[in-house]
Amino acid sequence: MSETATVSSRISDSFWRRPTILLLLLVTPPLLWLGIVYLGSLFALLAQSFFSIDEFTGLVRYEFTLKTYAELFRASNFDILVRTIVMASAVTIASAIIAFPIAYYAARYAKGRWKAVFYLGIMLPLWSSYLVKVYSWKLILAKEGILNWLFETLHLSWILQAYLAIPVVGGNSLSVSWTGTFLVFVYVWLPFMILPVQAALERVPPSMLEASGDLGASSSQTLRHVILPLALPGIIAGSIFTFSLTMGDYIIPQIVGTSARMIGQAVYQFQGTAGNIPLAAAFAVVPIFVMGIYLTLAKRAGAFDAL
């Protein structure tokens, strides 16, 4: 046996006798990377949120304080938090409503070639460029764009005008209204909702639906009392994505929407132009905190099995 073969078989033997060595070899590199690069940075961020900015010099004062967190509750900042969480909830609910029929059809009725069509039909939009998707909505919502043209051609502009006159959701045009922001969010995150709901529905045995029907339930009763409860973990799993992604996004509200900010934009501006890193860090902690609660609740509802 050659020299190298002996060495390799000896190492191989030691792996067999002590699997722990192999395990350590496997987990150490990814653990080091994620531990140092990711968790390290996360802690660096957390630490910054306990500092404050000196009002006179504008420099960061490196002393422990909760002052920066107190600033989150100032009316203008607190509005940002409320606005973001309301938007994230609305987007999540709308995504669930639109996603359900697609997921249900794909899971129950799509067979063979259609199954592939549905699969790719969800996967391609999911993986297409985020910015291109946002851009396409800038084209759609523009004053001279396709949506206004459609309303005009159908002589329905008055409906659009009446809708835009509604305070809060309306505005000068769709591209500078909350409705616009909301539409883009729903569009961009919808596939993240469809996939887990579809996965949950695929696990519902058809015999269970037959049993429900045999026992005299109408299809709407079966939907309400059998299918929906079984799909719920999937919906919750999907909502983790839609909620979290909406909460942290700063590009969509910047490109389509009003001038009122969301958490992501606040973080971006405070760390950039304003140079107030402690406040930016404190703002960034809010989504972590909210997602922490959300994930705990979701885990209790068994949503992780549907992921």
Partner: protein, 267 residues
């Protein structure tokens, strides 16, 4: 139960799919429009002129080159780390196993802006200047999860007795790795790699925090979205980006088809 879908379900499902696809199709039309000052619909005319203009733009080429290099290197790092992690989680039961799978998913479960600002403040504290490598560092971190997801699913389906049989027949660990494990997981790895590449190629939120003066293609696009300079060129670039990202996704689909590994699940 009926074995056929009701009309209402068919209509809502179809409308949902159309809602997902029509906006992207619009990009295909706008790339050929002759209008260069606004987003006018319907386009007044069609032309191929802007493809030529885009071809001669050095800034587009530079951004594209940077994006491809970042995506390639991040993918390689993510493939190594993701596979190691998947092998450990799928093959062993150990203390902290759940924590590791959570740790891998975290960079994608938390909003990108948090990953971004965390990395940025860490770079500031450690006095690391922004460079090509700071971008790669961020990208590799959130790409690990995609490779991990694909690999872990395949490892779980590959029976452990295959490995044992190979060793019983006298193969060393390295031979088993080369002739038994690798052929079994190769397509899943390739699919994971493709998706990681697509993810990195498209990423913008983390990148804005970890890039200094460099412009990746998504950052270039973001600039154009916020402050449009030459709309037709943006239209053409948008079309090209769609086409470029479709290739790895379709490839990943065909690689994992029929194996129940849902390649793109949980982007």
């Amino acid at each position: 139960m009926h074995s056929k879908a009701s009309l209402g379900l068919k209509i809502t499902a179809t409308c949902g799919l159309l809602f997902l696809h029509l906006p992207i199709l619009l990009i295909f039309v706008y790339a050929f429009t002759t209008e260069d000052k606004s987003y006018q619909w319907p386009p007044p005319g069609f032309t191929l002129e802007w493809f030529g203009v885009t071809w001669n733009r050095p800034d587009v080429w530079e951004a594209l080159g940077l994006s491809l290099r970042v995506a390639a290197i991040s993918t390689v790092i993510a493939m190594v780390l993701g596979t190691l992690c998947a092998a450990a989680v799928a093959r062993f039961k150990f203390f902290g196993r759940e924590t590791i799978s959570l740790l891998v998913i975290l960079p994608i479960a938390l909003p990108g802006i948090i990953t971004g600002i965390s990395l940025r403040s860490a770079f500031n504290i450690a006095d690391i200047p922004f460079s090509f490598w700071t971008i790669v560092l961020g990208h590799a971190t959130f790409c690990i999860v995609v490779v991990y997801n694909n690999a872990v699913a395949r490892f779980r389906r590959t029976s452990g007795s295959l490995v044992e049989a190979s060793m019983d027949l006298g193969a060393t660990y390295f031979q088993t790795l080369r002739f038994v494990i690798m052929p079994n997981i190769a397509t899943a790895l390739l699919a994971g790699g493709m998706l990681a590449f697509a993810l990195s190629f498209d990423e913008v939120i983390v990148t804005t925090f970890t890039a200094g003066q460099q412009q990746t293609l998504p950052i270039w696009m973001l600039e154009e979205l916020v402050r449009p300079r030459q709309r037709p060129v943006t239209n053409v670039v948008a079309l090209l980006v769609v086409l470029v990202t479709f290739i790895p996704i379709l490839a990943a689909y065909y690689l994992t088809r029929g194996t129940e590994t849902v390649a793109g699940q949980g982007k």
